[in-house]
Amino acid sequence: MEKRVKKGRLFLQMFLSYLGMLAIPVAAAAVIYGYSSQVIREQIERMNDNLLEMIQRDIDQQVSDVQKLAARLAMDTGVQMLSKVKGSFGTEDRMSLYYLYNDLQALVMSEDFVSDAFVYFNNTQAVCGINGNMSAELFYDLYYRNKEYSLEQFREYMGSPHYNDVLKIEREDGDDILLFTMTTLNSYVGESSATVGIGIRFSELERRLESMKWDDAMEAMIVDGDNGRICSGEAGETEGVDFKELEEGNHMVSGRRGRRYMISALASRVVNWRYVALLPMALIEKSAEKIQMITGICLFGCGILGFGVSYYLTEKNYNPLKSLVDTFKKHGDSQIGEHDNVYLWLNHQMDEFFKKHVDANRLIDANRKSLKNYYLFQLLQNYYGGDSQELEKYGIHLSSEYNLVILFEPAEKEDQKELVLQRFIIMNVFEEMCQDHFNVEMAEMGERVAAIVNLPQPSSEYVDILKEKIENLQSMAGTPFKFSCAAFMGAICRGLEGIHASYLQACELEQYTVLLETDLIVYDDVKNLQLQYDYPLETEQKIINAIEAGDSRQAGQLVMQVFDHNLSGKVSADSCRYLVYDMVGTLVRGAGRGGYTGAARELDFPDGFSMKRLPVPELKQRFAALLDQICGRVLEIKKETDQDKSLSRKIEAYIQENFQDPDLNISITSQHFGITPAYLSSIYKKQTGRSLLDYINTMRISRAQELLEQGCSVVEAAPMSGFRDSGSFIRAFKKKTGVTPGQFKKKF
């Protein structure tokens, strides 16, 4: 809700400021409108004047033509002569009348403005017109019958003198006529003898007025001297207009029914008429309205357009801001306070954001590093078959053909923090030192640091340079940082796949730290060490015998001799390890001979030797301790089993003598020695480690083998080697040797 209110207020502010701006075009439009109305009005007035001038020129021309015509007829000698005839025309006048009739017809024919022409002869009460000669009465009845003037009045009017007078006749057939009259000039005052009448059809006048109007709504009319309307285009609307006040020029007159007209008038130059043009104000207003409407529409359009544009611009400029705010609102925890300035808030949010962003960048950087480290790790740990370009993607630059791996092993093992620092120092310092010469990629390999040095040539010169660098590093580590680190440098190997090889070599070198007691071990230096250790069988037998005898001193001496002989830097580390295993084997065998069969199990050799490299002196001590332990035990066992042993020997001797007897078995043997078979078996087993039956069988099979080898047949060999029958012989033989006696014999 609040948000909406706030937004509403915002829009209201915008709208108000927008309205303020709009006031400028509104004012401009008002001025333009006012001015154009004025112009239109003036234009219309001018057009009215022009119209009136046109009407004046045209109608005046026609009227003056009519007047001339009337004057000509009035002065015509024929007419004047006929006008003097009194009473009625005689036959002698008929031709003159006929000629006059022809003349009038010709006149009317040539003047299309004129519809009628006649001469009224007062003395004869006759008329000569274009329709023929006839009595005034007939003439009146046929052509001029109207309500306003009766025949008498018509006669009176025509009988009185006229000069360019105009009479309007509303004929019964509706075809009104404007009659111009002129009396012949020879008439005496009050005794006019003939009057010329020229008729103009109203319809013709009206047609002319109509045709000159420039708008259907306007009216054009003719007003006579008595301010009576003579003729207008359309009657009716203007009846309330007072024409008396009409002056030339324009002014407004209120018309009937509240309709207002702009009236213009112009006086005729030939008659006492005035031509009047009435233009309804509505027409001007209509034009003005049109402008008003267009102006209004334009303004409205401008308003809408302007609003649209400003709205668009606002949206365009404000909305991103808003979306920014929204974004921060969405992703951030903080909400914008009601009165907070959006910009300040945003600024704050931005600061935070960039801080986060920097952190994130660091994180990403670290990630990238560890990722790179991972790939380097993989590169080192495993055989890699790809190409260097693929590695480039991970930021690993190993473009040259040859590689060499150096392993650094900081001495520190306890303090992890210290270790991290040391690794960091090693990585950075070494990388920096080598950068000038080679491409170096540093990777952490557990506690160690591996450096892959990319070399263009498998040259020993590089190795020397590297050695120098490593020494520098070691001395640097020693002096300012106070820690030591071992360095193992593998051989230069070709290609990326060589990295793994080189790494393995370097790893291998670690063992030599013990052996060589130096901080820098180079594979090339150690690879040529002896693979054979010198440990003669003779010596071993001596050691075994010494152990069997329980003589730890002599055994110790012998062992030390062997170690001293071999572990003096001439034998490779692997060989040394084998030697140790060999020695352990010797000790175990010696212990077994001495009757201490559990030695291998009880003495925990793997713990002692296999896993860990031990420095030579410690190794020696261990062995010495072991020997003491073993010998001590052997002596103990000797004392326990000395008597019993003679029994087993006796048993074996007895068996050797009697095994060819098929009846010999454990019971017979026990009867021979006077002890129970079970005890006999147990004691034999205990003393010799094998069963008595097995011994008997072994003896028999061995004899049989001998016989078979000597060429005896199976059937012959069986009884001679103590088997009751050949079937049990074959069974036992196969069981012991895995093959049948026949098969065995065939081998030979």
């Binding site: 036959t91 009348l97 023929g132």
Partner: protein, 561 residues
Amino acid sequence: MKKRSLSLLLTAAMTATALAGCGGGGGTAQEASTAQANNNGGAAGGTTAAAGSQAPAQAEGTAEFSYPMAAGDKLTYWCELTTTVAANYASLGDTPFSKGWQEETGAQIEFLHPPTGQLKEQFSLILADGNLPDLMEYNWMTDYPGGPEKAIKDGVILPLNDIFEQYCPNITAYLAENPDIDKMIKTDEGHYYVFPFIRGEKKLCNTIGLMLRGDWLEELNLEVPTTIDEWHTVLTAFKEKKGAAAPYCFEYTNGQYLTNDPFAFAFETSRSFYLGSDGKAHFGAAEENYKDFLTTMAQWYQEGLIDPDLATLGNDQVSAKITNGTAGASKGQAGSRMGTWTTAARSSNPAFKLKAAPPPTLEKGAKAEFGQIENQYSGRASVAITTSCKDVERAARLMDWAYSDEGHLYFNFGTEGESYNMVDGYPTYTDLIMKNPDGLPVSQAMSAYIRGNYNGPFIQDIRYLEQYYTLDEQKETGAVWGDSNGAAHVMPPVTPTSDESREFSTIMNEINTYRDEMTLKFIFGTESLDKFDEYVKNIENMGLSRALEIQNAALDRYNAR
């Protein structure tokens, strides 16, 4: 077979009529021609029916064609708007007649009319302008300077021979069956030039005659006058006993009443050319008989038997004077004059009656040798196709339709069911015409729906007239006025060559002007009849003999057509 039998039937009918006509006496050749004409008129329905039935056959022969035509360009049609139409319509195009006409034919027509009374002036203007309407209805025979052949040579109108042949089966068929009319409507060179207005029957040609107040005659116990003397008696009685200021009063300013003056005919003369018994053309106004006629007229005028304002009399005055009793005798047509006046006068004077008087003679009981009769083809209201016409076929088809059976009925009677109904095969006008619900006079009602009551490019049917005349007096007129040998003395529609024509009109303009002025002077008495010889000499000096020569040459050519 059918066609053949029909023509056989027609031939038989013609022979029968010709035989019947022989009983009447008079020149056999003339009788024959009259009989044939009568046959044509009398059987107008029949002949046009024949033409109509023939038309499709002919159309089949030339091209597939049927009315109404497909829509096309508007045709412009110029013609005079007759007064009975003008009374109610601003243009012929507004009438139901023309709407139906356009609908039936499929042609769109834009009608153009000259202002009333300015036919010839407007015609000259249009020719001078050169922008001609497609179709122009005019009297091309007499009113085109130089005649119709000249009009063709001037490139104003088209010769229609090929057009008739190609597009006009109906009129072609009609002309084939009416060789005397065919002779009238072409030039000496054999060119057709108009779609003619043809009176379908001779009876239709007796249009103008004398009439006088029947009720006064009865009142004064007088007979209808038949001789000049009887007329004198009657007119004197009218003047003296009925107080008529102008006992005899007629529309002197209307040329046709002057040319067709029964009183002149009584003296066997005419103010213009007539065909003498010798078969030659004569100019009546320059002959001795004309002097006799003038003598009588001058005497009557002097005696006040003729309207003193005679020279300038128009229809307005004559109508007023006849109806208000100022005049007792006049002349004119049975319809537009006798009928109109009677109707107008009876509103105030129910006893008013006008009676037709026969052509007067000098001797009591003699048959009038001269009499008013028009040629079946007078040249009037005939339509030419101008050279401006772009779609000649359309124009020709439009015009030809009027000469078909269907068109004939339409032009004379309008639309069946609307303006007429067929009652026993007789087209009878409906009350829409005869008792118009809007109160229009019959002539005006007719003019809205047909052209049969006045003129136009079609064949007029006598049956229109039989119904148009409602008064008994009117119905008599045909018989009364036609009782003369007038047809023998009417100049056939001859056509001088264009050169002759120009020369002829130059001569005749002068002669006619002089004659008209002198005639008035003689009648008014302003000029003594002693000067008649001098007058004749003047006329001859003006080149009358040359004019007669031209007329006779044209007559010879006409007879040779």
